[in-house]
């Protein structure tokens, strides 16, 4: 059994969280609140240390020092450093009813940047490359299995797109295609669910490895 106080504390918190499986209780709620508090506190400290300090406060302080020792020649650079910080502060204007409109300026810039950058990138990754990935297997056929595999992906793609095409009633041949699309979707959901079960069990394995190994010393 471990003699490390930290491991005992971690073991207690693990068991406190798992106690919810029996029923909700104050020990569980304490551990849950502690987790949330520590996570948020950690995020705040890291964000301040790695972003606010080196990206905002330090550059402004450096430019102010430069202006005070070298005069007005440093002012354009100081303004250049201050503008993004001021735009960032505008985001907090939402909390002041009279000044809330200021946040729209920062948001507009952020959304404009986001859309401008992500639309072409998504078009490339999710549409053009995926179309290429559907067609290319037909150019690399070496066996009967390759033909089957390429056709299977193509049929799956068309059937699923058919299912999500709502401008035509899902009847007749088109209805059969859409129904085939649902079968492909079911396989996808089944695979996703299987992977999800595996992931959740992995988390339990990790905790039991800790409890049985690091804490109780039962695993060599």
């Amino acid at each position: 059994m471990s003699g490390d106080l930290g491991i005992w504390l971690a073991a207690f918190l693990t068991l406190a969280i798992y106690s919810f499986l029996y029923r909700d209780n104050p020990v569980y709620r304490f551990a849950e609140s502690l987790l949330i508090g520590v996570s948020v506190g950690f995020l705040l400290v890291v964000a301040f240390d790695t972003t606010i300090l080196p990206k905002a406060l330090e550059p402004i302080a450096a430019q102010i020092r430069y202006v005070s020792s070298n005069g007005a020649s440093g002012i354009p650079m100081l303004i250049w450093v201050i503008i993004p910080v001021v735009l960032g502060l505008f985001m907090f204007a939402r909390f002041v009813p009279g000044w809330a409109w200021l946040s729209r300026i920062a948001l507009a810039l952020y959304i404009g940047f986001g859309a401008g950058v992500s639309i072409p990138a998504n078009m490339q990754s999710y549409i053009l490359k995926q179309i290429e990935g559907t067609i290319r297997p037909f150019l690399e056929i070496h066996s009967a299995w390759d033909i089957f595999s390429a056709l299977f992906i193509l049929v799956g793609l068309i059937a699923v797109i058919g299912y999500f095409f709502f401008s035509k009633a899902h009847t007749g041949n088109f209805g059969r295609l859409a129904r085939l699309g649902t079968w492909f979707l079911m396989v996808f959901f089944g695979a996703t669910f299987g992977y999800t079960v595996m992931a959740r069990i992995s988390l339990l394995i990790g905790r039991l490895q800790f409890l049985l190994g690091d804490w109780l010393g039962l695993i060599s």
Partner: protein, 274 residues
């Protein structure tokens, strides 16, 4: 109340106990069930294996602490492989908690291989705003990370003298529990042709299969099983490999419950019908 009705009304806590036993007993008594290496994982292994000594490998810790049991074994196995190949390793994080986990992993595994921080590996720390970070690193890593997580100026770090942007990085891996690798694919791979692979939780695996098919990613390490496969490839069976015995037995328990649950449902439904 017959047995089927009892099973339909089984206390969920009995299921929890059986599941805990299904996971716990194989951990105590090693069974050694075989783990088959899949093409997705061997592709990542082979790509790293073929890199030349001194090539730069970027490992981004894009996950929180909640998924440590899946993430740590896979990142440890990849780090061991990379250090054994004498690659230069650059670590970073796009999640705040990932920075603490990554820093610890780099130093722990680096110590195993007698690697020196700043010369053989460097951990740059955390940056928020995923898109801007990934895009910015394509132009200049130093501009995005002026200092590493020790506070040393990146310009003064020997390893970083020849690593300026993605053009100097041979391969990148995102160890992630969400869709952050999609950003790496969108901005790192599509825009800068960065060779990339995700190492993700099992939950996220199906998200990345289309990218495997289209050749946008080199391969994929998914979940504890992916980590166990990687451990087998580097010839060092540890946490993940041992966990796979428990994983297999737990899956049998789940399948057993699904079968029993369905049998109980159909048996009692028949009885209830007029």
């Amino acid at each position: 109340m017959n047995i089927w009705q009892r099973l339909r009304n089984l206390d969920r806590r009995i299921i929890f106990i059986l599941m805990a036993l299904g996971v716990g007993l194989p951990l105590l008594k090693n069974i050694g069930l075989p783990v088959r290496v899949t093409h997705d994982v061997s592709s990542v292994f082979n790509y790293i294996d073929k890199l030349n000594e001194g090539d730069a490998l970027l490992l981004s810790y894009d996950h929180d602490t909640g998924t440590l049991p899946e993430m740590v074994p896979m990142s440890t196995a990849i780090l061991r492989h990379a250090f054994s190949k004498n690659l230069r390793l650059i670590g970073m994080a796009l999640r705040a908690e990932g920075s603490a986990i990554g820093r610890q992993a780099f130093r722990r595994v680096g110590k195993e291989f007698n690697k020196e921080e700043g010369v053989d590996y460097v951990f740059l720390g955390y940056r928020p705003e995923i898109t801007a970070t990934i895009l910015g690193m394509g132009t200049s890593i130093e501009r995005v990370f002026p200092k590493d997580d020790r506070g040393v100026l990146v310009g003064d770090i020997p390893l970083m003298q020849t690593v300026h942007n993605y053009g100097d990085i041979a391969f990148a891996i995102s160890v992630s529990d969400d869709d952050t690798p999609v950003y790496w694919i969108n901005y790192g791979n599509a825009r800068y042709q960065l060779k990339f692979a995700p190492a993700v939780t099992a939950v996220m695996a199906t998200t990345f299969f289309p990218f495997l098919n289209s050749g946008q990613i080199v391969g994929m390490v998914a979940g504890l099983k992916g980590a166990a496969e990687y451990e087998r490839l580097i010839g060092r069976k540890e946490m993940a490999s041992r966990g796979m015995d428990a994983q297999s037995i737990a899956h049998l328990v789940v399948i057993g419950f699904i079968l029993v649950g369905n049998l109980a449902y159909f048996a009692t439904r028949k009885r209830n019908q007029p």
